[in-house]
């Protein structure tokens, strides 16, 4: 028998979050980070009519969390991995016809491009040059990233999201 995956965020007690028919549910977002997650993912796209719902500080067994639901769009692993910078525990649920058909955890990419700004004010990536910021992930846990340009390591990564 096909394993029934539980769709997060619509047990009776949190009916305030609408169920979606098709799309993506990003679950276990660090509480308070839902808006940053949307920002990183560029959601909603400027010409998109997909409904996006956000729930913040939702109670769960593992404490509070944020949830984001994007209707009619299936986010791919390489699209969402970049949110692991600020939400290492986030999970992605792909929903088709109200069922979870795929569930996976975000994983940290080897390079972070265009998401975090360099903490070094005299880094060339902070000048008006036609390049995106670029960091190499040199350690995953604890997270350490190194600027490709100036070779410095910013510490306040979550606050440096562009």
């Amino acid at each position: 028998m096909k394993k029934q995956l539980k769709v997060p965020g619509f047990k009776k007690k949190d009916l305030k979050i609408p169920r979606i028919k098709d799309g993506t549910v990003i679950d276990h977002i660090t509480p308070g980070y839902a808006v940053k997650v949307l920002h990183i993912l560029g959601i909603p796209r400027s010409n998109s009519s997909s409904v996006v719902s956000v729930a913040m500080n939702v109670n769960s067994k593992m404490g509070k969390k944020d949830i984001v639901k994007v209707e009619n769009r299936e986010l791919k692993s390489n699209e969402v991995d970049k949110i692991s910078l600020i939400c290492p525990k986030a999970t992605i649920n792909i929903i088709r016809d109200y069922d979870v058909v795929k569930k996976f955890k975000v994983k940290l990419p080897d390079e972070i491009i265009g998401i975090v700004s360099c903490s070094n004010p005299t880094c060339v990536s902070n000048a008006k040059e036609p390049v995106k910021t670029r960091f190499k992930v040199i350690n995953k846990d604890p997270l350490r990233i190194k600027c490709y340009y100036c070779e410095r390591e910013p510490e306040d990564i979550a606050d440096r999201i562009i």
């Binding site: 005299t122 880094c123 060339v124 000048a127 040059e129 340009y149 070779e151």
Partner: protein, 310 residues
């Protein structure tokens, strides 16, 4: 080893074998660098020399290197009057210079500028210093100086002295020397100590540096004393600065306790770190060190331009 078209951005981009290759080739350049021999292996080649901040020594030695091999140099010595002053991006200036020349030397006040330049140039880019970042040709000429003066780099007892905290070039040098397996002693005022990350890097390469604030003690066993400039702006007041600089002044009195064949190095310009009375002693190699910038840069230019003909 094929260096044709390779960018020279950071010493960490090179393996020990590659560094060895460059140093051996630079040695062959010596008579050409002195003008005793001449071969125009870079005839017809044009080098863009883009100095977005002035650095007389580095610029002149690059230009001398190119000229000694029969090549030509275009460029500017400081950014006043250039289109960058009018707001042009570095990327655009690089694209232009790249189309006018076969290789680009760039000096820039911002860290990472050379790495960025390399992204926009088809030809090789040589980093002549990017702010407080990398300065690989300085590092190579320092290694070359130790090698030619001491016959080898390995196993020398080397003191790095001065501002070890902010001086990034001294960080690269500590790393490069560790590749060769030397004994390292870091001498600095407590407030300007070598950062932990650099010490960790040395240890990963099997070198366990000694740290001290006493130069008198350290100097007895040293083969190489590498002094760097201590900048006034690193100190809260002039009194504190004078005290620190005074305690690290290299003079003949201090050198009495040193080995006879100790060499004293300095990337120059010096302010008051080395007393001029040292200049006439056999310890002083800092002017030779500055000259060594020419053979090193000759070697690099001919290698990246694919003309290894000496």
């Amino acid at each position: 080893m094929d260096f044709k078209g390779k960018d020279i951005i950071s010493i960490k981009d090179f393996s020990k074998i590659e560094i060895d290759d460059i140093l051996i080739y630079a040695e062959k350049m010596l008579p050409y660098a002195k003008g005793e021999k001449y071969k125009d292996i870079l005839s017809g080649k044009v080098l863009s020399s883009l100095f977005f901040e002035p650095s007389t020594r580095t610029r002149l030695s690059f230009e001398s290197a190119m000229n000694r091999l029969g090549g030509r140099v275009i460029g500017f010595a400081d950014p006043s009057g250039t289109s960058q002053k009018k707001g042009e991006s570095l990327a655009d200036t690089i694209r232009m210079a790249d189309s006018f020349s076969d290789a680009i030397v760039v000096r820039h006040p911002q860290e990472g500028a050379a790495r960025l330049a390399a992204e926009f140039a088809n030809g090789p880019v040589l980093n002549a210093g990017d702010g407080a970042g990398q300065h690989p040709t300085q590092c190579l000429l320092d290694l070359f100086t130790i090698k030619t003066e001491k016959k080898k780099i390995e196993k020398n007892n080397i003191i790095l002295l001065g501002d070890l905290k902010y001086g990034r070039t001294v960080h690269s040098l500590a790393y490069a020397l560790s590749i060769y397996g030397v004994e390292l002693t870091f001498v600095s005022p407590t407030s300007l100590k070598m950062p932990k990350e650099v010490i960790n890097e040395c240890m990963e390469l099997g070198v366990e540096p000694t740290q001290t604030s006493s130069l008198e003690k350290a100097i007895k066993d040293a083969d190489v004393l590498y002094a760097t400039r201590i900048q006034k702006e690193r100190f809260p007041d002039a009194e504190e600065y004078n005290k620190v600089v005074g305690s690290y002044r290299i003079n003949n009195e201090l050198l009495k306790n040193a080995k006879e064949n100790l060499i004293v190095m300095h990337p120059l310009p010096r302010v008051s770190e080395i007393d001029s009375e040292v200049d006439s002693t056999p310890h002083a190699v800092y002017f030779k060190q500055a000259f060594n910038g020419v053979p090193i840069r000759m070697a690099l230019l001919s290698l990246v331009l694919g003309e290894k003909k000496i």
